[in-house]
């Protein structure tokens, strides 16, 4: 059976900072499909931190928060529910803190962030001269899985609002094991619920609801396979542009209404053991290099995947 491994890529596409913790709904953004009846389990650990952030478009430090750190453990399950459709379900557990010393003495928080469900559908797979073309789309939905307070930035676990994402994915694979993939998604966000009924966002706002800006998300990837498909390496550029939102105010905390933009590059690697059926490991590193109202965050993650087929009750490769 053809290996169908590396679909957990772009994990933590959105780990960067203040509002964009959501990652997970974006996960299924590659071009690889699992066969019907396959299940893959992922356990991923991620560490992200930043000691500079963009207040509006001005990069700054802030000794009140010193370096903000975020640890995320993500258990996730992917299922090949139909011949051309994969389902993904996961819920990250996040903890945040500032390094010592810091001037603010704020308590970090921990807990489950957002439950995410997404569905990826392969619309087209076509042999081309010298390679193969794939067109896919995915739809994701996430919503807070605990009563975490979004209005506690930069420590809050997430932006606190439901999100619907629709992504289009195109991948071209050459016969020499190189591939190029690009995707674009729109993220519709709902409202975060604050624990106050008045806040400032370009004026007085008499409500406990904070409008989390919708956003566009882009990705461009160059990858290649080696060691007979066991190893996959990718160089990734990812970006987000909010459709609206306000700026972080001077020397003030961010809030869910902020316009969050970023540009990021990253490396991703995944390896499937030949000797142990279904077992794989992955690692990645991402660096935000430009942005607005977001941390200049670097994050690194490691994961283990295990894939099997429940129908045939046997391991795949």
């Amino acid at each position: 059976m053809k290996p169908s491994h590396p679909f957990f890529r772009g994990i933590f596409l959105f780990l960067p900072l203040f509002t964009v913790y959501d990652t997970y709904a974006q996960t299924p953004n590659d071009a690889v499909m699992m066969p019907l009846g396959d299940i893959c389990i992922l356990l991923n650990y991620d560490f992200g931190s930043f000691d500079e952030y963009w207040e509006g478009s001005k990069l700054r430090e802030n000794a009140t928060i010193a370096e903000v750190q975020r640890k995320t453990i993500l258990p996730m399950v992917a299922v090949g529910i139909f011949k051309n459709a994969n389902l993904y379900v996961g819920v990250p557990h996040v903890s945040t803190r500032s390094t010592e010393p810091n001037g603010g003495k704020f308590a970090g928080v921990e807990g489950f962030q957002d439950l995410g469900i997404s569905l990826k559908y392969q619309a087209l797979r076509k042999k081309m001269p010298g390679g193969e073309l794939f067109l896919l789309s995915s739809v994701g939905f996430s919503t807070p899985a605990s009563n975490y307070l979004a209005d506690y930035m930069p420590y809050s676990l997430g932006f606190g609002a439901p999100e619907l994402s629709v992504r289009g994915i195109m991948e071209h694979k050459w016969n020499n094991n190189m591939y190029f993939r690009t995707s674009i998604a729109h993220l519709w966000r709902g409202y975060a619920e604050a624990e106050r009924d008045y806040y400032y966002s370009d004026g007085s706002r008499y409500s406990k609801y904070m409008d989390v800006p919708d956003a566009w998300s882009f990705e461009g990837v160059i990858g290649f396979r080696a060691l007979g498909n066991s190893l996959r390496l990718e160089l990734i550029y990812a970006a987000q542009r909010s459709s609206s939102g306000d700026n972080i105010r001077a020397y003030n905390a961010p809030q869910p209404t902020n316009r969050v933009d970023f540009d990021r590059w990253g490396l991703f690697a995944q390896y499937y053991f030949k000797d142990i059926k279904g077992l794989g490991v992955l690692a990645y590193h991402n660096r935000v290099f430009d942005g607005m109202n977001t941390g200049k965050i670097n994050n690194t993650g490691f994961g283990v995947t295990y894939q099997f087929n429940f129908k045939k009750n046997e391991h795949v490769q």
Binding site: G103, K105, A107, L164, W188, E195, R196, R205, Y206, R249
Partner: protein, 516 residues
């Protein structure tokens, strides 16, 4: 094939459900309170005899208006009617926005500016701090930093000017007794519920001019914005059919005269000296250490050299002759049994952040970039004024006594803060962390508690039916600081008593002002 259809249907249903959950409930997030103009519960014919707050407010006079059958007046009516016929949709919206109780709107404008300017200056690259400077309002940093002491002072002067202006307006309304234009000419469709209150001078114009002047002085970078607001408001008064031009001009005159008097008090009330240089601040701190053996020190990084307005306690009070009269006794000594008990309580709250305590800490936080606790109580008051259908005179009176009491409570609180100079929990408890920000001034007593108890005391007097509710809220506001980890329980408890005691002075004065 059949299976495929089923499958696609399921997928479609899932996507549709997700879409609904995410986006179907578009919410309205209002910029101001939505309410309709209402019929006032009273006209208060004798309102002109109520006691002024500012001693010089009584000597403002305006000329007698032209008679209602004079050529002059009829020409004014004709001009108004003709303008009303050309009202644009935008002007109609403005009339609706301002309502017949524009005290509410000017109060909202004030708290919005407070939120806008309530940003603490950050450090410079070399670790120093530059403070906002009234002499150079553009900064950086911009002037003012509308922290709670600054905010409540702005609100107090605004409300006092509005109230004294309303008393003057009411005085001349019933002295000259010129009925509203729509009372003479039934072809005029008044935009608001009709009433029998005479229209000369226009109370709306008094409010517009006085408010614009006071807020322009408090927020010098907003002069243009405020002038635009005043112009829009004055135009709405005219186009509503409630005031001819001479009503408005007389109101503007009173508004400006009152504002001048209020601002002259403000210029000499001691606020300009409240933010001290470092040597003064150091000596205040040293005096406390000598007296009590403890001292508060800023924990920020880089350290802020001076706390917030160390001499705010010396600002002139409205209703208390001497701040020491209302100064509470000392807090528990560091290391005493009572103190250690508090350390235990605070550690327990920090280790067990329940959703209810977190909610309370956040709901009443009213920190940076918000309207501050005084603004929060103004917001609550505004809702009562509308619910109880108060006229502008009574609305102004409520805000005036409310904000004088809160400001006096703040002055008394700051007196205690810098007299006792008591440290914050993060200084005393090793590794202690908070869920809200620790402010840049000593702990004892809690500002939130004194502000809130003062507000509750005045609101209980004005709205006796709401007494239980407002005291419940005040207690919540006081406790919120302890739940947040930035105050000791005695900061909150003593602050509550202090706020109530101070506000009693205001209430005692109010009882005698002729309104009851």
């Amino acid at each position: 094939m059949y299976n495929k259809i089923i499958k696609n249907k399921q997928i479609a249903v899932i996507i549709f459900a997700m879409a609904i959950l995410t986006t179907a409930c578009e919410r309205d997030i209002p910029y101001y309170m939505n309410f309709d103009s209402y019929a006032f519960t009273s006209t208060d014919e004798n309102g002109g005899t109520w006691s002024h707050i500012l001693p010089t407010a009584g000597d403002i006079t305006i000329d007698a208006p032209s008679a209602t059958n004079s050529v002059e007046y009829l020409a004014e009516i004709a001009a108004m009617k003709s303008a009303m016929q050309q009202t644009t949709p935008e002007q109609k919206k403005a009339i609706e926005y301002w309502t017949n109780n524009p005290i509410i709107r000017w109060n909202e404008i004030a708290v919005e500016l407070i939120s806008k300017y309530n940003l603490i200056p950050g450090p410079n690259a070399d670790g120093t701090y530059t403070l906002p400077n009234a002499g150079n309002p553009n900064g950086p940093p911009p002037f003012p930093f509308a922290n709670p002491p600054y905010a409540i002072r702005a609100l107090a002067y605004l409300s006092v000017a509005q109230y004294d202006g309303m008393i003057s307006a009411w005085n001349f309304k019933y002295a000259y007794n010129r009925a509203a234009p729509y009372q003479h000419d039934n072809t005029i469709a008044f935009a608001y519920p009709v009433n029998t209150i005479p229209s000369y001078p226009s109370d709306g114009a008094v409010i517009a001019s006085a408010s614009r002047r006071i807020l322009s002085a408090m927020f010098p970078l907003e002069v243009e914005y405020l002038q635009q607001k005043e112009n829009e408001h004055l135009e709405s008064l005219f186009l509503s059919g409630g005031n001819v031009q001479s009503d408005i001009d007389a109101g503007k005159l009173i508004g400006n005269e009152i504002a001048t008097r209020a601002l002259s008090r403000a210029a000499t009330d001691g606020m300009s000296k409240a933010q001290t240089p470092k040597p003064v601040s150091d000596s205040i701190k040293a005096a406390a250490f000598e007296r009590f053996g403890w001292q508060w020190t800023n924990q920020e990084n880089p350290v802020r050299p001076v706390g917030l307005t160390p001499l705010y306690g010396k600002v002139r009070m409205w209703n208390v002759a001497n701040v020491e009269e209302v100064r509470p006794g000392p807090p528990p000594a560091i290391g005493s049994v009572e103190y250690l008990e508090d350390v235990k309580i605070l550690k327990d709250y920090a280790a067990n952040v329940t959703s209810e305590r977190r909610r309370i800490a956040n709901f009443w936080q009213d920190g940076l970039s918000t309207f501050t606790p005084p603004g929060h109580w103004n917001r609550i008051t505004k809702e009562y004024l509308v619910a109880y259908e108060f006229n502008p005179l009574r609305s102004a009176r409520t805000f005036a006594y409310l904000n004088m009491a809160i400001m006096d409570a703040g002055i008394s609180c700051w007196d205690a803060k810098y007299y006792y100079h008591y440290p914050r929990p993060i200084e005393m408890i090793d590794g202690f962390k908070t869920i809200i920000g620790t402010p840049n001034f000593p702990a004892y007593t809690s500002g939130h508690s004194t502000f809130s108890a003062a507000a509750a005391e005045v609101l209980s007097y004005v709205f006796p039916e709401e007494s239980d509710q407002v005291w419940t809220w005040a207690e919540e506001a006081a406790n919120s600081r302890v739940y947040g980890g930035i105050h000791w329980t005695f900061d909150a408890n003593v602050g509550m008593e202090q706020g109530k005691t101070v506000a009693e002075y205001a209430v005692n004065r109010a009882r005698l002002d002729g309104a009851d």
